[in-house]
């Protein structure tokens, strides 16, 4: 740009910047730098970029649900069928869609078919390992609650739901946490206890969480009444303990003054009296099937959901096994970060040398390389909101550098075609033609990357999202601006 008589003076610069495409590009570039927010904190260089687990200390766990979702074709009432299956398979069975059941146990298709045959319950139409989206969300919530209790601020729980709406895997990422700790978070349960009020506010122990054999999902009891509750089942010893305590303390005769309290890790999470009906029943027999109601309305439903989690004491409603896991130490994370930055710089340098070797014209090479580099900055500025940077996302960034330079070369060559012609009209025509080529190739890259971006191939999502974003930024912002800048430079 600064060659002999072709010195760009202030007036020229003003003219370039006054083009709206160039102006837009500059504004976005500035916004991106603000968004990245490079600053010094305690003498250390910091940015707002979020780094993934490859680039900082942490662990990840991929959990595989030990549960199946089946599509059924049956004449039996669904309620009856789920109850029968529950008994037959000794597993929680819930209805998740009009003709879909979730069996919360990893039962083989053969075993299920056998159960269906013996119950004369119709046919199994589909069989898939995993859980419904709702269950997956519940599990996610439970895991998040547990992680919050750990005090880790940088944690992510992602469910990977397939196109059929069934979730097979859930992924937990914990920054700054070792593998051992991460496994504990998933496995560890809280201490759950039911106590009964004796006199005044004093309470006495009734049973521990191990006496609860299963916990249902929040439902309306009776159906359609609008009253929400969580059904749960006690073991035989649990039911006996409850009966004895209720009778001894007088809860069966005066329920209002002898609330049953649920205590999780020494915190009371639910407190309510026995219903007169239940009190009468308990006096006669030990009762195993119980229901804790929370009232009517949305807030009651939320209470019921929380109660369900508490009843499980942090245990997941569906068993999981670890399907994959990984961890990075702080030193290696730092090493990868430095190497990634270095790889980016060296890639840009190699590219600049090659471009210079081909064009030998600083007034072309300089804007080309600068635009290419600034594209990465804009991309990082956007990425900070949508995507954490891990190694594959970094590879995506460098891939964008590659497609970016391809397209800048196309523009440059198209405009340079048959030498320099000082006719703005002709330049414009050529620029339009170049942009047509670019739009097509951009569309193919986006289409090629789309499956990765929407599919749940965990770590590759970052790569695909960064690449697609990069191509979009290129086509919408930097390429048009570059076209104007290079046109201006060449027509001088």
């Amino acid at each position: 740009m600064l060659q002999g008589e072709r010195v760009v003076n202030i007036a020229d610069l003003k003219e370039i910047v006054s083009d709206w495409r160039v102006a837009l590009y500059l504004v976005i570039l500035v916004l991106a730098i603000i968004s990245i927010g490079p600053h010094f904190e305690d003498g250390q260089f910091k940015t707002n970029l979020q780094f993934g687990l490859d680039l900082q200390e942490g662990s990840w766990l991929q959990l595989d649900f030990q549960s199946v979702v089946i599509g059924i074709d049956t004449d039996k009432p669904i309620d009856q069928l789920t109850a029968d299956l529950k008994a037959k398979l000794d597993a929680d069975v819930i209805q998740v869609a009009p003709s879909k059941l979730e069996v919360r146990k990893l039962v083989s298709k053969e075993e299920l078919t056998k159960a269906f045959d013996s119950l004369q319950a119709g046919k199994i139409v589909t069989y898939e390992q995993g859980v419904s989206k709702n269950t997956a969300d519940d599990v996610k919530q439970i895991l998040e609650t547990k992680i919050n209790a750990l005090g880790t601020k940088d944690a992510k729980v992602n469910t990977l739901t397939g196109m059929n709406g069934i979730t097979r895997y859930i992924r937990v990422e914990l920054a700054g946490v070792s593998m051992k700790q991460a496994q504990d978070v998933v496995g560890k349960q809280g201490k759950f206890e039911i106590r009964v009020q004796t006199t005044g506010n004093d309470t006495e122990h009734v049973l521990f969480g191990d006496s609860i054999t299963s916990v249902g999902i929040p439902s309306q009891e009776p159906a359609g009444s609008g009253v929400w509750g969580v059904p749960f089942t006690l073991s035989e010893t649990g039911a006996n303990a409850l009966r004895n305590a209720s009778i001894n303390t007088g809860a069966v005769t005066d329920p209002e003054r002898h609330h049953l309290e649920m205590v999780l890790d020494n915190r009371t999470v639910f407190s309510a009296p026995l219903s007169p009906d239940l009190a009468a029943k308990i006096q006669r027999d030990p009762i195993r099937e119980l229901l804790a109601t929370t009232g009517k309305g949305t807030s009651a439903l939320n209470d019921a959901k929380n109660l369900e989690i508490h009843l499980r004491a942090g245990a997941l409603p569906v068993a999981v096994v670890i399907a994959g896991s990984g961890s990075v130490s702080a030193t290696l994370g730092e090493h990868f970060k430095v190497m990634s930055i270095l790889a980016g710089i060296v890639a840009l340098l190699f590219l600049a040398i090659m471009i210079f070797y081909r064009y030998r014209e600083p007034s072309i090479v300089l804007p080309m390389v600068l635009i290419n580099a600034s594209e990465i900055i804009i991309l990082l500025g956007i990425a900070r909101f949508v995507q954490q940077l891990d190694l594959s996302a970094i590879a995506g960034l460098i891939a964008v550098l590659g497609t970016g330079i391809d397209q800048l070369v196309i523009i440059t060559d198209e405009i340079l075609h048959e030498g320099k012609v000082p006719s703005p009209n002709l330049y414009l025509k050529r620029l339009t033609r170049a942009l047509a080529i670019i739009v097509i190739s951009a569309a193919t890259v986006i289409i090629a990357m789309l499956p990765l971006a929407v599919m749940s191939l965990s770590t590759l999502r970052g790569f695909a999202i960064i690449t697609i974003l990069g191509v979009l930024v290129g086509v919408l912002v930097t390429r048009p601006a570059y076209g104007r800048i290079i046109m201006y430079i060449l027509s001088k």
Partner: protein
């Protein structure tokens, strides 16, 4: 490239495509043989077959590491500079795995460990294959919509197929496995591969002028594009090889191989088909 001139006027389309066709056939055969042996055209890595990968820096020699981990299904030890090691284990059961984790954190607390279970690997593999298929179909549709003429569109898609097949075969030769990063690289290759093909086709179909001149002009631009991209990726490859950043190193290796094949497939395969298409069209007229 200085004195080299891309002049295809002396070559018939068949002559141009002879070399790529031979390589393509060899690639397909070798992929077939590999499928018979491993179940996949490219030997699957731990992401797809299950297993454990460990990255660490240690002064211990490969033999020492082998002795330390004897009793575990150790597959391979890759050695970088600066004492970097990349150790791969085959899939093992949960108990064995926990034993291994304990052993690793005891001796090499700073290691990066990634473990994929066999069934999870299967799921990932299925999804990766779907991703490749969908990408390919999507790319073909875009190309057909863009050109709206049959032969040139087929030429672009064919040379993309050739790129992928040859790259996949070469991966087996270089000992690169098919895993999540290399799948991403293959998908990226679809994008890179059609870039130069589209440039070529647009220049030939939409511009005025003699075929030979148009195609030579396209070559000048196209080769700058590919070499510029190549140089960036070679830079990335060098740094990540020396720095033992396995993920990026594998991605860049696949891209380098793919881009080299792409040069051949764009300027011989695709250009050959286009030449045949244009000369055939030129022969038609009313007299």
């Amino acid at each position: 490239m200085g004195p080299f001139r891309y002049d295809i006027s002396r070559y018939s389309p068949i002559k141009m495509m002879a070399v790529p066709i031979v390589i393509f056939v060899i690639a397909i055969i070798s992929l077939g043989v590999n499928t018979a042996h491993t179940g996949l055209p490219v030997t699957p890595g731990i992401d797809f077959s299950g297993g454990t990968a460990v990255t660490l820096f240690t002064g211990d020699s490969a033999d020492q590491i082998r002795t330390y981990f004897s009793g575990f299904p150790l597959d391979s030890i890759g050695e970088g500079v600066n004492n970097g090691k990349y150790i791969k284990f085959a899939a093992m059961n949960d108990a064995k795995l926990q034993e291994l984790s304990a052993l690793i954190s005891q001796r090499y607390p700073d290691a990066k460990v990634d473990q994929i279970g066999e069934s999870f690997g299967k799921t990932l593999q299925e999804q990766a294959i779907y991703a490749l298929i969908f990408s390919f179909i999507g790319m073909s549709i875009v190309v057909f919509i863009a050109f709206r003429t049959f032969v040139p569109s087929v030429a672009v898609v064919l040379s993309a197929i050739a790129d992928m097949a040859m790259t996949a075969a070469a991966m087996n030769v270089f000992g690169l496995t098919l895993n999540l990063p290399t799948t991403a690289a293959l998908l990226m290759l679809i994008g890179y591969s059609v870039d130069s093909d589209i440039l070529l086709t647009m220049r030939v179909l939409k511009r005025q002028g003699k075929f030979e001149e148009k195609i030579e002009g396209a070559f000048r631009t196209g080769i700058i594009m590919t070499t510029a991209t190549l140089s960036a990726i070679i830079g990335m490859c060098l740094v990540t090889y020396l720095g033992q950043v396995q993920v990026i190193y594998e991605i860049s290796m696949v891209l380098i191989i793919g881009l080299l094949f792409d040069i051949m497939n764009t300027w011989l395969t695709n250009a050959g088909i286009l030449k045949w298409y244009v000369t055939r069209r030129e022969g038609r007229e009313y007299r």
